[in-house]
Symmetry: C2
Subunit: 199 residues, 2 copies
């Protein structure tokens, strides 16, 4: 996402090492599969010691689990004009971020997604991140509604939105997230509203 070049030589080398490890790992994962790739192999391919690997990534899983889009989405939502209704602001924010992704970033995302679909452990972890995203989202929503951050109202809306989004991000689903998909989400939300009418 936002690629800021850090100052010190040390910092830059660290960033390079980190990238080298991740690139090597992703390459090996796609070549031979996740389970079949050992940390030792990754370390060797990245020309570092296994110790160093674990200094950069606490677990083998974490190599795949770097996610910068969620915070970006939150920022984009926050940037929407305050008179926009909450749900529309959320949809617009998501849409903006996804539209700005470069083709290369999309490719990386797709590779990651494929790994998630294949490796149950990774999938479990990703879900955890998703749930964390609910908190983030609930925070922004609460802001917009002028409620305290832990208001039931905000948390419910966030939970429902993420729940619905999850529904469209299932394994096997093409995660393209272009205009047509947003229409689909919108339609889904409308039908949801109608089902809630009898309450």
């Amino acid at each position: 996402m936002t690629t800021e070049v850090p100052a010190g030589l040390r910092e830059r080398k660290k960033a390079r090492t980190r990238a080298a490890i991740r690139d090597a790992a992703m390459r090996l994962f796609t070549e031979q599969g996740y389970a079949a790739t050992t940390v030792e192999q990754i370390a060797e391919a990245a020309e570092v010691s296994p110790s160093t690997f674990f200094r950069y990534f606490p677990t083998k899983e974490d190599v795949v689990l770097t996610d910068d889009v969620d915070p970006a989405v939150v920022a984009a939502i926050r940037a929407q004009p305050p008179e926009t209704p909450v749900v529309d602001a959320v949809l617009a924010g998501m849409r903006q971020v996804f539209e700005q992704l470069t083709e290369e970033e999309w490719a990386g995302e797709r590779r990651r997604q494929r790994l998630f679909d294949e490796v149950p452990d990774l999938r479990a972890r990703q879900l955890q991140q998703t749930v964390a995203a609910v908190d983030l989202l609930a925070g922004v929503i609460a802001e917009r509604l002028g409620r305290p951050a832990d208001a039931d109202e905000a948390r419910t809306l966030a939970g429902a939105l993420v729940g619905v989004t999850l529904t469209f991000l299932r394994p096997g689903e093409a995660v393209s997230f272009h205009l047509e998909d947003f229409d689909r989400v919108r339609r889904a939300l409308i039908s949801l509203r109608d089902h809630l009418a009898p309450l």
Copy 2:
């Protein structure tokens, strides 16, 4: 839940062994913590070999992850009169199942929940189960709506309902799920509906 006594001696012994392992594990977990308890210790406490442990539970995590309530909820929803609106049927189904739990079962649930709150790995796995529950729920909802099982409409509603429910089952929340909590969920859904109105 439904405790059916199996016929053969072999089956009964297997059930007993399984229970012994789980009981020993849960006891040790609460005594010394999850991470600090090794499979070897559990096996010893249950008077089986480590090999046997892994025959009964594929991973250490699975000892904690036995869930019989989700299917029960689905069955209860299915048992609601067909003229009841979907959302009400779901709420009623959940409520019935939770009301039928014995105090002992509640205690076990609470212990499990505490472990989930403490151990991130377990939490991740539990989430995965939750997502699987969305599928189950979507199935029943589709039935009621007379739609195909993979209809967006059903999946959306299921996703939203589970998402909202998740919101009220967070770490730190008291998972009592009695009448007052159901009112809370209902109110949350009503506010959700109102926020979806502008669409």
